[in-house]
């Protein structure tokens, strides 16, 4: 019995190693988590605009064109890292990006955009995280592509990197445009 206690550490380490082993599976692409939503109509969005006096944000106003939705928050460090790339989505591929500030105080989100620049055509605030739940996001940042017909085309979980943009998002955009 006493000996079993001394086996405990190695047992815990074995479980952890097994967990990491599964986690390292190259097929588990963290940034392109399959979304149950892909191919289905995007969940309804109806959020207060971020800046004072901005109209409410709905997806209806973007119907008929390919748009990206980016969930972000001022408290999220990776969001800061991906931020410069968001403008590129619009500049290089002509896809407007909608921002949704997730579980974030509006004044903080505003400060965040004020500091780093505002890459969004429109921004809504999802303070209680409801819209995030509807989209099934796992955290911030996450980026979705919504096709012209209003269906979810692609999901990118995690911060965009120059590689991720080039190798994953760009092909998805090209495909969606066809």
């Amino acid at each position: 019995m006493r000996r079993l206690i001394f086996l405990l550490p190695i047992a815990i380490v074995a479980v952890l190693v097994a967990l990491f082993w599964i986690g390292l599976d190259p097929k588990r692409d963290k940034s392109a988590l399959p979304s149950a939503l892909v191919g289905k109509p995007a969940p309804a969005v109806d959020l207060a605009g971020l800046s004072d006096g901005a109209p409410r944000l709905t997806l209806a106003q973007f119907k008929g064109q390919l748009v990206a939705i980016n969930f972000f928050a001022s408290w999220c460090l990776p969001c800061r890292a991906e931020h410069p790339l968001l403008k590129q989505i619009t500049a290089e591929f002509g896809v407007p990006v909608i921002g949704i500030a997730w579980k974030d105080k509006p004044e903080d989100s505003r400060a965040f955009l004020a500091e780093l620049g505002d890459p969004y055509v429109a921004t809504g605030t999802d303070q209680n995280g409801r819209t995030g739940i509807d989209f099934g996001i796992t955290g911030v940042p996450e980026t979705f592509l919504i096709g012209a017909d209003g269906t979810v085309v692609y999901r990118f979980a995690g911060p965009l990197s120059p590689d991720g943009l080039r190798e994953q998002l760009a092909p998805a955009i090209a495909e969606a445009k066809q």
Partner: protein, 658 residues
């Protein structure tokens, strides 16, 4: 040519490490003295080769040799020299080389200064240290060659990430690595002791300086990182519970437990197998951190590019390096008999509580770090764990730990007098309650955190001071005798006092910064002003300036209170020329009781600028407290008792500062 020589030096280092890993181990088992003695020259040679390789890489960075792939990816010819040099470890391959360099530094130090270690223990320790080297050198040579060339060589490089171009961050990785790789030598000592089957007070004494040295540098490294975040990220925060921050924090927590449990082995010949376990786990957490950062298994800003083959390699290293010793532990530890029994109410009893609390705190941080991964792999759902989780678990556990910390030093070994200890802490109790009341008075509707944090902080601060005054009997006899007593009080005891004081100061700082931070944001035209907590920030002007490798808008604020000018602040909004990434350089004015922190945002296009100001009470106390803790570690390290008969001399203490 030089990069090839560097690469070749790594191969030679591997050969040396292989010899050092095998021959002394066999020699120790069979009693072949020359084989055991081989460990020393092998460790020194291995160190020399790795230093050569490291310098070769640094030279490639300094001279902007863009034929070397990682120089192209992480440097630029117009980058300031200090960031060219720090670029050496600002990437996966280079930082791995730094990792191995520190591994071999510690091996070489033990080889040089371990003359008085029992030959078998020394041979086995160095042999195990070399096994770790073998693993990491193989990892580097097989998957991450820092000297890989590009042909044709590009004319210009891609520049170090602008966020990393900060003096704090230039020093952060070397300090941090000295700390958490330093625990490798404690690990090697522990595994060698398991093979020996002998753990005694002498063993604890040999291990103590290494443990202290690693703990001290790790403390410094973590704080530098936090300081960088505060200065560079431009939103006034200093700790984010990011997985990678946690990865460096876990070895610190468990290493702190180890530092204390080794004391019990030394003084009371007890807690042996527990101490061995902690020694293995502390380095285990260092390896875990390395794995988390480099495998890309967890998303974090700190992570290096993810590459699953590297991940598998490190995971295998981790499994072997921790799995084999823990198996050995399961076999050998049950026969490590402790010395006498001990009473729960005693110094050792208090240290056991310390260890239990620290171990559970480490477990909560581990859980918070890995839970998202666990949940994702088992249910496919994903969540993120943030500050509130850690406040509710870690914070709650920290309270009793800090309360006990003031009591522990009053307890005697073997049998402590709790009533006496508490009586002597009455003053501390009164001060602590007073501080809590002041906290409520300052802001009655504030979070509960403020009075509680101040309560434990002040309790620990005063309790530690009282203990020190009693130790040197500050109010007995004439000044000359008091001075004499103070002078002859052991340095290790001073170290403890300083380290505990430092933590108390830091806790007070963290409480103030977390509970009373306030901010204001507004669009200002030059000439307009913004007020916060009675301070008026007047935006005088914004002008474009040019730095070595960036352009910036620099604002000029005049800060005044009641009409008296207090400070001029010059925050910048930088645009680096190569990587189109805006970064903020906050301007900070540190005062004893608060920091004033100003950030300038985007122009609004109508002549105005978005301006954000923070009032951060007590934040400077965090850095100051940490500095005192580091000073405490160094003071304890300089204790003569541990130099005599211990494998550390002034050289190691110097290395800690370097």
């Amino acid at each position: 040519m030089i990069p090839e020589l560097g690469h070749y030096a790594l191969v030679l280092a591997l050969v040396m490490a292989l010899a050092q890993a095998t021959l002394p181990m066999v020699g120790a088992a069979r009693g072949i003295r020359p084989w055991m003695q081989l460990a020393k020259p092998a460790a020194l040679a291995q160190f020399a080769f790795v230093v050569f390789a490291f310098l070769a890489l640094m030279l490639a960075f300094a001279s902007s040799d863009f034929s070397v792939a990682i120089v192209t990816q992480h440097s630029h010819s117009e980058q300031p020299l200090i960031y060219k040099l720090s670029g050496t470890w600002g990437n996966h391959e280079g930082s791995l080389l730094l990792w191995v360099l520190i591994l071999t530094i510690f091996g070489a130090l033990v080889a040089l200064f371990g003359e008085n270690l029992p030959p078998r223990l020394k041979a086995r320790t160095l042999s195990i240290q070399a096994m770790i080297s073998v693993g990491f050198l193989l990892f580097m040579l097989l998957t991450s060659n820092p000297f890989a060339r590009l042909n044709p060589a590009p004319v210009e490089g891609e520049e170090l990430n602008p966020l990393l171009q900060d003096p704090g961050l230039a020093m952060h990785p070397p300090m941090l690595y000295l700390g958490y790789v330093g625990f490798s030598i404690v690990f090697s000592f522990a595994v060698a002791a398991l093979i020996d089957g002998k753990v005694d007070a002498a063993w604890a004494r040999w291990v103590r300086p290494w443990c202290l040295l690693s703990w001290t540098t790790l403390t410094g490294g973590i704080v530098l990182g936090s300081w960088w975040a505060y200065n560079e990220l431009g939103w006034g925060g200093w700790w984010f519970w990011d997985p990678v921050e946690n990865a460096s924090f876990m070895p610190w927590l468990i290493g702190t437990a180890l530092l204390h449990s080794a004391l019990v082995v030394e003084k009371r010949d007890a807690l042996k197998s527990w101490t061995i376990l902690l020694s293995i786990l502390t380095f285990g957490f260092s390896l875990l951190g390395t794995f988390l950062v480099r495998s890309g298994i967890i998303t974090s800003v700190h992570a290096f590019a993810d590459d699953p083959t590297r991940g598998v390699f490190i995971l295998a290293l981790l499994a072997i390096a921790i799995g084999v010793p823990l198996s050995l532990y399961a076999l050998r530890a049950p026969v490590l008999r402790g010395g006498g029994l001990f009473a729960p109410l005693s110094r050792e009893g208090a240290l056991v509580m310390n260890n239990l609390l620290l171990a559970v705190m480490t477990a909560t941080v581990l859980l918070g770090t890995l839970y998202p991964l666990l949940l994702e792999l088992t249910t496919g759902r994903t969540i993120s764990v943030g500050g509130p989780f850690y406040m509710a678990t870690f914070g709650v556990l920290a309270l009793p730990l800090l309360l006990l910390m003031a009591v522990g030093p009053f307890m005697g070994w073997k049998r402590g007098d709790v009533r006496g200890a508490l009586q002597r802490l009455i003053a501390a109790g009164i001060c602590a309650l007073g501080a809590a009341i002041v906290a409520v008075w300052i802001k009655s509707d504030g979070p509960l955190l403020a009075p509680l944090g101040l309560l434990v902080g002040v309790w620990l601060l005063v309790g530690t001071l009282v203990e020190f005054m009693e130790r040197i009997r500050l109010f007995e006899g004439n000044p000359a005798r008091i001075w004499n007593r103070a002078r002859h009080s052991p340095r290790a005891a001073y170290g403890m006092t300083l380290a505990h004081l430092g933590l108390a100061v830091a806790v007070i700082g963290m409480t103030g910064a977390a509970a009373w931070k306030s901010e204001n944001i507004k669009v200002l035209q030059p000439g307009q002003a913004l007020t916060l907590q009675g301070y008026e920030f007047k935006l005088e002007s914004v002008q474009g300036i040019r730095g070595e490798n960036y352009l910036a808008d620099q604002a000029h604020f005049v800060v005044s209170r009641d009409g008296d000018v207090i400070s001029n602040l010059y925050p910048e909004r930088r645009q680096y020329l190569v990587q189109p990434m805006p970064t903020t350089e906050a301007a900070i004015r540190s005062m004893p009781f608060a920091d004033l922190y100003a950030v300038i945002g985007e122009p609004d296009g109508k002549g105005g600028w978005i301006v954000r100001i923070y009032h951060e009470p007590l934040v400077a106390w965090i850095w100051f407290g940490a500095l005192i803790m580091v000073a405490g570690g160094l003071t304890s390290l300089s204790d003569r008792r541990y130099r005599v008969g211990a494998p550390v001399r002034a050289g190691a203490a110097q290395a800690a500062k370097a």
